[in-house]
Symmetry: C2
Subunit: 165 residues, 2 copies
């Protein structure tokens, strides 16, 4: 009598989203171990990366929030912590006294330089290296399609724009 319900539970779309979730979270778990070694959290790593790639090695708090998965108050707190550990510092925005910049410090840049080589190796080993080149290209294409639909903001501004060289 429950066949309707049962059928829904076996929908292939659920398998599809499960696969995406497991691949993503599984990969993140692999990466986490290395972050731990370097006393960085995933969020901190992302903050450092975003800052390092931005002009002037700085970003307004709000923009940083927009580029990460954090709310603005989340950014306030991460930057608090990272400022305490010397990886970033705040700087006043000369043109708008409400705003402030988060700026990556020399220590922050060094920390990234320490972590990145191992990080890239892990990505190679558990992600991009798992697939032949053309299949990887295809995968990234598909992901980009989904990303653009689901998160249109990310398409503008970020490294993505620099991509079609």
């Amino acid at each position: 009598m429950n066949t309707d319900r049962e059928d829904l539970l076996d929908d292939p779309r659920l398998t599809a989203v499960g696969l995406l979730a497991e691949a993503y979270t599984g990969l993140m778990n692999r990466l986490a171990a290395q972050f731990d070694e370097h006393r960085l959290s995933q969020v901190e790593f992302e903050v450092l990366m975003r800052l390092a790639r931005s002009p002037g090695k700085r970003l307004r708090m709000t923009d940083l929030a927009g580029q990460t998965t954090l709310s603005t108050s989340g950014v306030t707190r991460v930057v608090d912590r990272m400022e305490r550990s010397g990886l970033v510092c705040r700087e006043a925005c000369p043109s708008d006294r409400r705003s402030s910049y988060a700026v990556i410090t020399e220590a922050g840049s060094q920390r990234i330089a320490e972590v990145l080589p191992g990080h890239l190796e892990l990505l190679q080993k558990w992600y991009v290296g798992m697939l032949p080149t053309d299949q990887l290209t295809q995968l990234l294409d598909s992901l980009r399609t989904i990303r653009d639909a689901v998160n249109p903001c990310a398409a503008a501004g970020s490294a993505e724009t620099a991509q079609p060289a």
Copy 2:
């Protein structure tokens, strides 16, 4: 003089992982709105799904932890909350008095039945429906490859095994 560092920051592998992250988190954000409407969190939804799909509509706490992103203490707390709201209940394991089962209740099953149709629509709209069939197949293939490498446990036992019907 910093060219070494700069080069690392532009590595295409970083773009690749960024794409995966943005696609995944973006999709999850789209789904979150619907969960809210039904007073369910993402984790609660996953717990209900796992239980609903398991034989006897039940799972030992530890197994539930293994199938989700939660630690065992995390599972204890989610099940606490869900038991309070009547979606699941605990049952003693007859063969091992250390273990207990989380069992989905009728209310829990109903809740899932309410949420699933809309959930599947959203998946259609923002994920599987974005890609032509063969490209989707290819995507799932690639994701499965990565998932199997990165999270070998998930390959056994779960819905994945039931897949090749």
